[in-house]
């Protein structure tokens, strides 16, 4: 009998406690803390998408702000021009818009690799940023566009309910469910035959070609899926933030996505998720405590590259392995 690998029971078992904690946490911590966690989970969705390219396909994008911003602006346009405030319509619009732009940009970018790929993704995202910046009569320019509290699953927010209460409860759970489903789907994708093909491309492009994998088509689909995840995150982010400005289309926001993916560890599935949540707290507290917060983040980044190149998840995994061997 061959040792057919067991179904993903073990992976599932390790996720259940985390999911339970995420469900119970809003009952225990202050509403503001819950919204921070919601931000973290939203960035985690973006990071999961981003890491399909970096960790699994071996492509470093410096332009993921484009898809995040596209998701966010699609929502703002839906409010501005269609006067619709349904969250489900927001998500649909955000996903379709980011998918369209990812399909186009991906088509142009995936024929290149390494620095050429990175620079091209960056340049294309900057085009979107400049459009959002210049066409102020459409995009609101630097003032941005406001997005009101949406209805969730057709249920309007009761009149008089505080926005914070809404965000820290109903909206948090909405985000949490989408995050869990999104993470589960991504987990399946990276363990699917398609995911294996991506990893083969990452490990050796030429050899993958000679196994019959049409490299650029797979990269393009990976790019598309990656863009959709990031766009979904953008659409979820706007109602939480209440406002979208060109800042989230700027390449420095792409840099943040890279940052928290590296912080968490791009060689593991959970790394980017952990990195996104941790980064969000780190930035919030650094901004709150010192005007030199960018320096704090800079030092963290330098330390990360020098001391923990495997990121939080990668390093924790190694420590656990050592511990197990020692016992």
């Amino acid at each position: 009998m061959s040792p057919i690998p067991a179904p993903p029971k073990r992976a599932l078992l390790s996720v259940i406690p985390i999911a339970v904690i995420l469900f119970v946490l809003p009952l225990l911590i202050a509403p503001y803390q819950v919204t921070l966690l919601a931000y973290g989970l939203i960035f985690a969705i973006a990071a999961l998408g981003f890491n399909l390219l970096l960790g699994y396909t071996g492509l470093l994008s410096f332009g993921h702000s484009a898809y995040f911003g596209m998701g966010a602006y699609a929502v703002a346009f839906i409010v501005k021009y269609l006067k619709i405030t349904s969250m489900e319509v927001f998500l649909l619009g955000g996903v379709l818009a980011s998918a369209a732009i990812a399909a186009l940009f991906g088509f142009l970018c995936v024929r290149y690799t390494r620095i050429f790929f990175g620079i091209l993704t960056l340049a294309l995202s900057q085009v979107l940023w400049s459009l959002a910046f210049k066409f102020y009569w459409v995009t609101g320019g630097t003032d941005g566009l406001r997005v009101p509290t949406p209805s969730l699953l057709g249920v309007q927010n009761p009149a008089g309910e505080e926005k914070m209460t809404f965000l820290a409860h109903r909206y948090y759970y909405y985000v949490l469910v989408i995050f869990l489903v999104g993470a589960a789907v991504m987990w399946v994708i990276v363990h699917s035959p398609f995911g294996k093909a991506l990893q083969a491309i990452r490990d050796n492009e030429t050899r993958a070609e000679f196994v019959g994998v049409q490299v650029w088509r797979y990269r393009w689909v990976a790019f598309l899926v990656s863009g959709i995840y990031t766009g979904l995150a953008g659409a979820l982010w706007v109602p939480l933030n209440g406002l979208t400005t060109p800042d989230i289309l700027h390449w420095t926001f792409s840099g943040k996505i890279v940052f928290f993916t590296v912080l968490g560890g791009f060689q593991t599935f959970m790394g980017p998720v952990i990195g996104a949540v941790v980064y969000n707290y780190l930035e919030t507290y650094a901004v709150g405590h010192t005007v030199y917060w960018q320096m704090v983040l800079g030092v963290v980044l330098v330390l990360l590259v020098l001391v923990l190149p495997a990121g939080i998840a990668g390093t924790a995994g190694r420590l656990l392995l050592k511990l197990r061997r020692a016992v």
Partner: protein, 251 residues
């Protein structure tokens, strides 16, 4: 009819005539060795036939059909597979996954995004069976990057073999392994190739290996075919022995 035939196949790199009007053919079912000194054009010829390089001129016929302009992907579909001189396995994937991926690709299943690879038991079973044939079943769960050089060589061949090709090119399957390991590796490869009724072309430097395992030998020299014959004929060919082996037949 020959399984594969090249007609006046030519590839120049600047002034270097890497492959110069070569008429090369492979008959169905044979195990052919392609030999020659470094720079003779062996690997370039295989690169042209497998689609890694485009020829400057000439045609490639596979099973009578012109495949000269075909993409790599279509050539693999037609039944041409290869391994590489420098080992090229997927290091971070598991050993089983390396072979499994080739099977998924062969069956057109690599576009499945929403099903787990290891839930396809037919593919896992076949991949494991293939590892067993290559003597790698004990390494199934290791990542390919952690294998020893000889094992990686075998895995490289196994990945190509898993595509179930009609014609398999093996570019120096024993390079970089110790002399002691060469015979076992070649024994495994040749027995699998013969039992699978695959036509194979092996590029090899080790003359012991070449003479012992091949049905026919084609000798290349400076981009052209110098000689073509059975091992006995090649051994007796004076032109070959002086240019290639640097010895006379009596030695």
């Amino acid at each position: 009819m020959a399984l594969l035939e090249t007609k006046s196949l030519t590839k120049y790199f600047g002034d270097t005539h890497a492959v110069d009007h070569v008429d090369f053919s492979v008959a169905q079912g044979e195990l052919l060795a392609l030999i020659g000194s470094n720079g003779a054009g062996k690997t370039t010829l295989v690169n042209l036939i497998s689609g890694l390089l485009r020829p400057d001129s000439g045609t490639i016929l596979f099973q009578g059909a012109d495949v000269t302009a075909m993409s790599v992907h279509d050539r693999i579909r037609a039944g041409i597979a290869r391994s590489f001189q420098l080992v090229t396995v997927f290091d971070q994937l598991g050993t089983l996954d390396n072979v499994g991926l080739a099977i998924f690709a062969r069956e057109g299943k690599t576009w499945r995004l929403l099903s787990l690879a290891n839930s396809d038991h037919a593919v896992s079973e076949e991949a494991f069976e293939m590892l067993r044939e290559f003597g790698l079943e004990g390494k199934a769960s290791l990542s390919a990057g952690g294998l020893a050089q000889g094992e990686r060589k075998l895995l490289d061949v196994a990945v190509a073999y898993a595509l179930r090709p009609k014609l398999l090119f093996l570019d120096e399957p024993t390079s970089g392994v110790s002399t002691r390991e060469k015979a076992p590796i070649m024994d495994i490869i040749t027995s699998i190739v013969r039992s699978g009724k695959i036509t194979a072309v092996i590029i090899e430097h080790d003359m012991d290996v070449v003479f012992r395992y091949s049905d026919r030998i084609v000798v290349m020299h400076e981009g052209a075919i110098l000689a073509d014959g059975t091992p006995d004929e090649i051994r007796r060919n004076e032109q070959v022995t002086t240019t290639l082996l640097g010895t006379s037949p009596s030695q």
